[in-house]
């Protein structure tokens, strides 16, 4: 049995991070969390995750910009990113996908739907 797949959860709101963390762990993944892009980048540099769940609007650098940066970096371009945004306009979705994200989900998302999307991208935990 290989090591559990690592998922990095980036959101400035702990009340959003914690349920995701618990649920993904129950599903057999190994979740890690960061409350901003800076912390997330440190985590990626120390050990690149198998998937990133990324909030778009955060204080400091926003998720969309970081997503583009990662996709432009050959070291991390292959890591699938799921953008999570409270802004659900079509335009936001377009921007998100254009940045190279694998999926775009609008808050409030269903954790089960998110779970399915993660499974599609990296398989079971």
């Amino acid at each position: 049995m290989s090591a559990p797949k690592r998922i990095l959860i980036v959101d400035d709101d702990a009340f959003i991070r914690r349920p995701l963390e618990f649920i993904l762990r129950e599903e057999g993944y190994q979740p890690e969390t960061a409350s901003d892009v800076e912390a997330a980048m440190r985590s990626v540099l120390s050990a690149p995750p198998d998937l990133i769940l990324l909030d778009v609007m955060m204080p400091g650098k926003d998720g969309l910009t970081w997503c583009r940066e990662l996709k432009g970096d050959p070291r991390f371009a292959r890591i699938p990113i799921v953008l999570l945004s409270a802004r659900g306009h079509d335009l936001d979705r377009e921007h998100g996908l254009a940045s190279g994200a694998a999926a775009f989900m609008t808050k409030p998302y269903s954790p089960h739907e998110l779970k399915c999307r993660v499974r599609e991208l990296i398989g079971r935990g």
């Binding site: 009340f15 349920p19 618990f22 609007m57 204080p59 802004r87």
Partner: protein, 696 residues
């Protein structure tokens, strides 16, 4: 006319024999000539035309001896009786001192007598011979005819008093001298009566009739033995063979003169009319070409001055008392006419007429005419617009100015033109005013539409920001709730995990509740709910704000003893201050304190007077210049929402400023010189009642 020649004491007089053709006029003259001048010293001159007997132009100066101390020289004339010689008869009759009408006693000539008699009357009038001053003696000739009409009958037909006529048989000489004496007697009596005083003094008026009878006595004696006028005594005669020469000449001259006079009058009149028409057409053209009221009036007034003999013309209107007020005047100013009571009253009477009115002689109309009205003699008024009482007035100068019928007609026509012109101007002005009003209305509507559009646009933008902000702000706690609830429902977890999830749900729910509260407050703010105004102590307002913003631990408060209390709604003021504190805590660095300074200040604006300033100072990044306006708009937050996570709905500053303004105060921002922001609420002090408080 008779002439008294005082130096040679001679009276020259003229007697004319008148009557129907073939009635015996010439016979009378011939017989008289024979009886009075048997030696033929004076020539009996006859001027014959183509028809013999038709025209005699006889002259018979007779020395009658001494009558009244004067020699009397009488010229005798007769005239042709034929109807067609009327002009000649009229000319010969001129200046007659006495007339002998020789009537024919033949009943067949009765009508001729009457016609000739009427003709005599007519020609006397034409010659201005007064029947009362020029005696007419009627001779009934041919009394020897067996069928002669009775004397009474003839007198009746000719309208002569009974027995006033003289009967004669001229061809026998009978009655000829008697007739002549009767005429001379009446004539001389009349001439004496009419003589000038100087002449009268030289007259011997004694027994006038006796003198006359004495003078004529020898002739009467001769008449009795005269015998018939058998031999036509062709006297020395000047015979003009050219037919109707004199008559034609007299006729032609008279006709020519009359025609010349007529022609001259006609030409003058035509040229006047032409000028009038030219002026009317000019006036029409001028009034047609102009929409300017003054120009139209001036055109009419100058036409009036050009055509009339008037020296001043004006358009007047009647005031409420019916008095004339000059609207416009050309030529000599007519103001004095309106100024003087007497002339103003007269003018008012003229203007009250519905048609033209004229006064021909001001000095007679107004006794004691004021000095400055003596320049005028005649006055004409013609109504122009009956409704407004507008009228044209033309004044004709003294001493001989005259308003003729032509003038009145012209002014009336002119008034008609002017009325049309003024009507046109009025319609034009009404249309223009209407158009102006319409344009102004359109402009006003356009402006308000533009305002409404801008308002809608800004409301629309606000709505977008609201939806965007609200959706984001609500989705975030919802996401937390859905996540936690899902975990609790589908996974067991340990007790610690379950408690954490439940706590998360509660916290997120509280956040949602806060959002809803905030939205409701804004709704109230927009709705303008009344303030609960009291004297709110500054310390209490600050303490409540710190509690609301949960900023007690981060804030340091400096309360000036001079700032005691605020006149206002304590709860609202605390909310406004809490928003500022919230921002300061949110955007300022964690380690830097948030300062609150409460000091007295001076308020401007509607609540001018003593005030309290509450300043909130932080060491945060401050507001960028370009974000200043947006920061205070509802649902706006400084910075791009995409690049920085917004916290809250962006209603804080908007609400705080709105509350400050409702109190008559202000909310201002300025960057701190050494970094950070200063938001400053200036509010009315309780010591200086605000306008609202004063009203209460």
């Amino acid at each position: 006319m008779a002439q008294w020649s005082l130096p040679d004491r001679t009276l020259f007089a003229k007697v004319v024999y008148y009557g129907p053709a073939l009635g015996g006029k010439t016979t009378n003259l011939r017989m008289l000539h024979r009886l009075t001048d048997p030696d033929g010293r004076n020539k009996l001159v006859s001027l014959a035309t183509a028809d013999d007997r038709t025209l005699f132009f006889d002259l018979l100066p007779m020395a009658l001896g001494n009558v009244l101390g004067y020699r009397v020289a009488i010229k005798l004339y007769t005239v042709p009786g034929q109807v067609r010689y009327d002009t000649t008869r009229r000319v010969v009759l001129a200046g007659a001192d006495a007339v002998v009408f020789v009537a024919d006693s033949d009943p067949a000539r009765e009508r001729d007598n009457r016609l000739s008699w009427d003709d005599l009357r007519r020609n006397m009038r034409a010659n201005r011979l007064d029947p009362a001053a020029v005696p007419v003696v009627i001779q009934l000739n041919k009394r020897d005819l067996p069928s002669a009409t009775r004397r009474e009958e003839m007198e009746r037909v000719l309208g002569a008093p009974p027995r006033s006529t003289v009967e004669a048989v001229a061809c026998d000489g009978a009655g000829v001298v008697a007739t002549f004496i009767a005429a001379c007697r009446a004539m001389l009596q009349r001439l004496v009566a009419m003589a000038e005083p100087a002449t009268r003094r030289s007259l011997d008026e004694g027994d006038l009739v006796g003198q006359i009878d004495a003078a004529f006595a020898p002739y009467l004696a001769r008449e009795a033995s005269a015998g018939p006028d058998a031999v036509p005594r062709p006297t020395t005669a000047i015979v003009a063979r050219a037919p109707d020469l004199l008559e034609s000449a007299v006729d032609a001259g008279a006709t020519l003169g009359a025609e010349l006079a007529d022609e001259h009058a006609r030409a003058t009149r035509l040229s006047r009319e032409a000028e009038a028409f030219r002026q009317l057409s000019d006036c029409l053209r001028a009034t047609g070409a102009s929409f300017d009221r003054d120009a139209v009036v001036d055109a009419a007034l100058s036409s009036a001055l050009a055509v009339l003999g008037a020296s001043g013309a004006a358009l007047v209107e009647r005031d409420e008392r019916g008095r004339a007020a000059i609207v416009r005047c050309l030529g000599a100013p007519l103001a004095p006419l309106v100024a003087h009571e007497v002339s103003a009253a007269m003018l008012a009477r003229m203007l009250s007429r519905t048609g033209p009115a004229a006064v021909q002689d001001l000095p007679t109309e107004i006794p004691g005419l004021p000095r400055d009205l003596r320049a005028w003699r005649a006055l004409v008024t013609v109504p122009v617009e009956p409704r407004s009482g507008a009228a044209l007035v033309a004044a004709f100068p003294a001493p001989d100015g005259e308003a003729t019928d032509d003038d009145l007609r012209f002014v009336a026509t002119l008034a008609g033109h002017l009325a049309v012109g003024l009507e046109k101007v009025a319609i034009y002005e009404e249309l223009r005013a209407h158009r102006d009003r319409l344009e102004e209305t359109v402009r006003e509507r356009t402006r308000s539409l533009a305002r409404a559009y801008d308002e809608l646009k800004s409301l629309d933008a606000m709505k977008d920001r609201l939806l965007c902000g609200v959706s984001h702000e609500m989705r975030t706690p919802l996401t937390a709730i859905v996540g936690a609830a899902t975990f609790l429902k589908d996974y067991d977890g340990d007790r610690g995990q379950r408690e954490e999830m439940a706590a998360g749900i509660l916290f997120a729910s509280a956040a949602l509740d806060g959002l809803i509260g905030e939205l409701l407050r804004v709704a109230r703010l927009e709705g303008g709910t009344d303030l609960a105004v009291t004297d709110a102590p500054c310390a209490e307002v600050v303490a409540e704000a710190l509690r609301l913003a949960r900023a007690e631990e981060r804030a340091s408060v400096l309360l000036d003893p001079g700032a005691v209390s605020i006149r206002g709604d304590a709860a609202r003021l605390a909310r406004a201050l809490a928003s500022l504190l919230d921002n300061a805590v949110k955007f300022g660095p964690v380690d830097a304190p948030v300062e609150v300074r409460v000091v007295p200040c001076v308020l401007g604006g509607p609540a001018a007077g003593a005030g309290v300033a509450i300043a909130v100072l932080d060491r945060g990044p401050g507001l960028a210049e370009e974000d200043l306006e947006r920061a205070f708009a509802p649902f706006e937050q400084g910075g791009d929402p995409l690049t920085g996570k917004p916290a809250g709905l962006g209603l804080g500053l908007y609400e705080a400023r709105a509350i400050a303004r409702r109190h008559g105060g202000t909310l201002t921002y300025r960057p701190r010189p050494d970094g950070g922001s200063e938001f400053r609420l200036s509010l009315p002090s309780a010591d200086a009642p605000s306008r609202e408080a004063r009203r209460a």
